[in-house]
Symmetry: C2
Subunit: 394 residues, 2 copies
């Protein structure tokens, strides 16, 4: 009998459709709304270069040596202080673990919380990176529909009542893929039922600082305390290529996360942690974020205007207050995959909805990224898509 | 009923005794033979600084952007070429995946190969980082004793005959913790039984280029082809703080590893991969390695001489041909933990043997690192240990 030499979990991890599409978009003539890439125009290349030189000039070797699993202490202190400053949240540096971007934080959450067949509640549509990371640990996913202002609380309550749910994972601001954000009322209701059932909330918040409109909402940790595990990232506000993010969790959860991190890769890049910290110390990060925010707001507005101008009225779409994505819904008689095939021939691509659903669905949805393309190309790409949709519907 | 909110695996991962000891050795007066740290005196700080500046001067942002999961293509090509150059091994860049040091490669091997209760064969004593990484996936460990010239082939054959072993993990050169290397005969016999049973060999070889004496041995991939999965690292020849290593595996195994890597953290640090590649292009790495080798050989010789001079003859120890560690065996009436307690009071530390055994054992063993301490301190630290041992035996 021939059997696979690989573990059964390998059959359950979805491949990233997104990253597969990215491979075919190396052609610079392709207008891509597919990735979740920040606009590289705003990477602080000069500031990073200065910080690298500073760190290495002062180096006694320790910047290139093995480091502690928890991360570079001054960077952990910086993250804790920023929670205090931007959210009034009291966080100790001991409650911060530096990770290789948010994606590793998701893997560590999976390692620490999920045993095979454990119930895990996620959003529907859900963040693909989280679905991939958690799948490795073979949970039973319970996807709970997203409404315009956050998860459907009644449906989530049903799941929490009938299953022993390890945690609910939410991208609470400017969700990936839908672009929606949780309202104040929704957050309050969510805190209530999560507390009632004693489960954990994984508050995945990589776009937090990319709010263009509306009012910033306090972290769920204010309400949930140790039952909230916060995930953050420097990828969207500095640069993703440094692969630096963090988890903020109670000391008890942190102890488990640190063991998992140590087994995973000992610790995150010592040199880049110091370099990033030096950059943050010597540059006005708020000014830098304001620049990104203003640019992404313009790009989002241009995309929305183009969608209104070029898409037929049967197509609906979300109006995000921040982040990187708009979520569009096609009429029932048109699938996003059919559209993608035609669109790719005309050199414009996006991510169809299906990979964001673990239980089928998303056939008529498309995720449109507005952060990576330049303004003129956004208008041109949406115009092309609109023309193709009209032709296909005709 | 109170139950743990964490997955059962969290109870099975051993904490790193080594990293716990390292925390207490921040005191510069402590002579530490405990870590597995390279000597920072040989970190190419200036070369790395130049490479960082070069990469960022030329940067169009791509050095700070998301990258491909497999790794930076020119760095993968470099690793493949180095296998050709140093080992005559024909490797395609497609068979190289860049990881966050060897430790992440071990985690990915665990993810890809181990289902709960699967049989996994390891060396006894075994590499602690591998034990930790694999433990996450809850295998049944089958530790096979190491002899002076490699694993006990008869005992390994017994395990392979009676269990469906997923793989045998070996640190084939200058093993951690024992310092021993596999002889030519042992390698031949190992290849034979591994082939016979159709299992995989995880050839973990981070110290490969740190051979001071004897003859370099060809990789097991020459004999085993796709059944050999090679792990390598830049940590010992450039710097560990960059967290860059690799896996070399067949295209089929690679496909599974890439899915696991994507779910784990998307990809390794884009900036450091480019910076390292630039450093390797513009510097003579062979000359640099020769420098490290000569220094470590001196440090090893000083430690061996000190052991002979200061330790009582009842203590035996290995004589490694490379790497970073000597493994000493105390007389039965003295445990390494007792010795460590006394030694720590006199400001000299090492790692006792027990954490390297998953089935008990190592009570009378000590792992002595010779790469990190300066020459004078090696002599002084071993002298102190010898005095304490003699006192305790008296």
């Amino acid at each position: 009998m021939m059997t696979s030499p690989y573990a059964p979990r390998m059959g359950t991890i979805p491949k990233s459709f997104v990253r597969e599409i990215l491979k075919v978009t190396q052609d610079p003539n392709v207008i891509s709304f597919a990735g979740g890439l920040p606009n590289p125009r705003f990477f602080p290349v000069q500031g990073i270069a200065e910080a690298a030189a500073d760190v290495l000039t002062r180096a006694d070797g320790s910047a290139l040596q093995y480091g502690t699993t928890e991360g570079y202490a001054p960077l952990r202190e910086y993250v804790a202080q920023r929670y205090r400053k931007t959210d009034g949240l009291d966080v100790s540096p001991d409650e911060i673990l530096i990770t290789n971007g948010s994606q590793q934080a998701l893997d560590l959450v999976g390692k620490v919380f999920i045993d095979r067949q454990d119930a895990v509640a996620i959003e529907r549509p859900g963040y693909l990176g989280a679905i991939q990371a958690f799948s490795v640990y073979q949970p039973q996913f319970h996807p709970v529909p997203l409404l315009d202002d956050g998860v459907d609380i009644d449906r989530l309550a049903d799941v929490l009542k009938t299953q022993r749910v390890r945690f609910f994972h939410t991208v609470i601001n400017f969700q990936n893929p839908s672009g929606i954000s949780y309202s104040v009322e929704k957050r309050r209701a969510l805190a209530e039922i999560v507390k009632q059932h004693g489960t954990f909330l994984i508050e995945d918040d990589p776009y937090r600082e990319l709010r263009f409109e509306g009012t910033a909402r306090p972290s769920m940790r204010h309400e949930l305390g140790d039952k909230a595990v916060l995930l953050g990232s420097f990828s969207k506000i500095v640069a993703p290529g440094l692969r630096l993010g963090w988890v903020c969790a109670s000391r008890e959860t942190m102890a488990a996360l640190v063991v998992a991190k140590q087994a995973s890769d000992l610790h995150s890049n010592s040199f880049c942690q110091r370099m990033l910290h030096q950059f943050l110390l010597t540059h006005d990060i708020d000014e830098h974020i304001a620049l990104i925010r203003a640019a992404y707001k313009r790009q989002k507005d241009i995309m929305l205007a183009a969608l209104e101008a070029h898409f037929p009225p049967e197509v609906t779409f979300t109006r995000p207050e921040g982040g990187m994505f708009i979520w569009a819904t096609l009429p029932q008689r048109l699938t996003a995959i059919e559209l993608l095939e035609r669109a790719a021939q005309e050199k414009v691509v996006f991510v169809p909805g299906t990979p964001f659903f673990v239980d089928g669905g998303g056939t008529h949805n498309m995720r449109l990224n507005f952060s990576n393309a330049d303004e003129g190309r956004i208008e041109e790409g949406i115009a092309r898509l609109g023309r193709i949709i009209k032709e296909m519907l005709a």
